[in-house]
Amino acid sequence: MTAPAAAYGKALDLITRVRSVRGAMLVSAEDGIVVAEQLMEGIKGPAVSALAASLATRLRRAMEAAGVGASLFWHLQAEHGALLVVPTPGGTLVVAVAEPDVNVGLVRLELLRAAEVVG
C-alpha cells in the first residue's frame, strides 16, 4: 500500500459516484481485512471483504494454473446485484458492490482508475 490514507477516500469516490453502485471497499488481498470503505448501510464490510479475498485468491491461482495469467478484473454476478473486483499489483483488492442494472463497463473503468491511485 503506497498511497496516503486521503488517497483511499478519493479512490473510493471514483467508484461510488457511478450510478447503481451501493458501496466500495479497499481490501487487503492477503488477509481479507478492510483497508477503507464507503458502503451503504446494511452491507457487512468485514465479512464480505474476507470472502472476497478468499475468492480472489482461489481465482488467481486457478487462472494462473489455466495459463490465462494474472487476474485483472472479475465480476461475480447474482440475481439481485454484483460484486466487481480489481486486484492491484500492491496486494489490494478494489471492490464494488452494485445493483443489477449497473453499467459494468463504467464500474470496471473506475475500479481500474482507483487501483492506479491505490497502487
Binding site: A65, A66, V68, W74
Partner: protein
C-alpha cells in the same frame, strides 16, 4: 438439378424476399457448392431471422463445413423458435451421435418421431442410435459417416457439439472432482487437475458472498486475465462449470458460450443423476 438451381436463382433475384432461398440453398448444399449455399442461406436468414427452416438450412451447411459449434447454435435457435422442428431435432441428434452421446441423440430422435411418426428417416436413425439398425444405413442426414474412431471420452459427452470440449471447458463437482471436459494451457499442456484443485469450494464461497450481500443466487463469475478470459457458472447447485478462452474472445461472447455449456452440463448431470 442444375436447371432447378438456375430457375430458383432467377426467382430469388427477382424477389429477394422469396422463400425459394430455402430450396436453392439446400440444392447447392447437396451439390457440394457450400460457399454459395452459405451465402444464400445467410442472406435468407438475414431477411427471415425468425424462420426456423432458415436456421435449419444454415445449420446443415455449417455442419457440412464441419463448423459444428455454430451448427449446434443454429439448430438450437431453430428449436427455440419451433420446439417441434424435426430438422433441428435430427440435426442436434446427429451432432450428439457424432460425439458418441447416443442417449442425447436418441432423445432428440424420439422427440422427432413424436412429431413425425411416419418419417422413415427418423425411425431408421433411431434404430441406428439404439444399435439395432441395418448395417451401412446412414442414421441421419449427416455430412459425413460417423467414424468408429470418433468414440468419445466420457468428458466429451458432457459438452457434445460445443467448441473447446477437450481444452477449454471443465465441469466439476463441489469438491473439485472433474466430471467432464478438459483444460489445456497455451502450450498444450493438460492443466485440468491443477485448475480443478484451485476451484474446489469456489461455488460455495461465491454463494456465501452473494448471500451475505443479499444479492440472491449467484449466476456467474467472469474474470479477465492478462492472457485470457474465464467464466464460471453453476449449472446445478453442486456443480461448477469453467470456460476458458484467450483474450480474442470478448467477455460477452464468453458468457454466451458458458450459458450453452451450462445448459449441456445441466442436461448431462440430470441424465446421470
Amino acid at each position: 438439378m442444375a436447371d432447378e438451381i438456375r430457375t430458383l436463382s432467377s426467382q430469388l433475384a427477382q424477389d429477394p424476399d422469396s422463400l425459394v432461398f430455402l430450396r436453392l440453398g439446400e440444392l447447392l448444399r447437396q451439390k457440394g457448392q457450400l460457399d454459395t449455399a452459405h451465402r444464400v442461406a445467410l442472406t435468407g436468414l438475414e431477411r427471415h431471422p425468425h424462420l426456423p427452416d432458415a436456421h435449419d438450412l444454415y445449420a446443415r451447411i455449417l455442419a457440412d463445413k464441419h463448423d459444428y459449434e455454430r451448427a449446434f447454435d443454429e439448430w438450437d435457435m431453430a428449436l427455440r423458435i419451433a420446439p417441434d422442428h424435426v430438422g433441428a431435432l435430427k440435426g442436434l441428434a446427429f451432432l450428439y451421435f457424432k460425439v458418441g452421446d447416443v442417449q442425447q441423440a436418441a432423445a432428440h430422435l424420439e422427440a422427432a418421431q413424436r412429431v413425425a411418426p411416419d418419417d422413415p428417416g427418423v425411425a431408421q436413425a433411431l434404430a441406428m442410435a439404439r444399435g439395432g439398425g441395418p448395417a451401412g444405413v446412414e442414421p441421419l442426414t449427416a455430412p459425413e459417416p460417423i467414424a468408429p474412431a470418433a468414440q468419445p471420452l466420457e468428458e466429451a459427452r458432457v459438452f457434445a457439439g460445443l467448441e473447446g470440449a477437450q481444452e477449454g471447458l471443465l465441469l466439476l463437482d463441489a469438491s473439485g472432482r472433474v466430471l467432464g471436459g478438459a483444460l489445456k494451457d497455451s502450450a498444450g499442456r493438460d492443466v485440468t487437475d491443477a485448475v480443478a484443485a484451485y476451484l474446489a469450494g469456489v461455488s460455495q464461497e461465491a454463494a456465501r458472498t452473494v448471500k451475505l450481500l443479499g444479492l440472491g443466487k449467484w449466476t456467474g463469475l467472469a474474470a479477465e486475465g492478462d492472457l485470457g478470459h474465464v467464466h464460471l457458472a453453476s449449472p446445478t447447485s453442486d456443480a461448477l462449470l469453467l470456460v476458458v478462452r484467450d483474450r480474442a474472445v470478448p467477455m460477452g461472447r464468453l458468457a454466451v458460450i458458458a450459458q450453452r455449456a451450462a445448459l449441456a452440463a445441466r442436461r448431462w448431470l440430470e441424465s446421470h443423476a
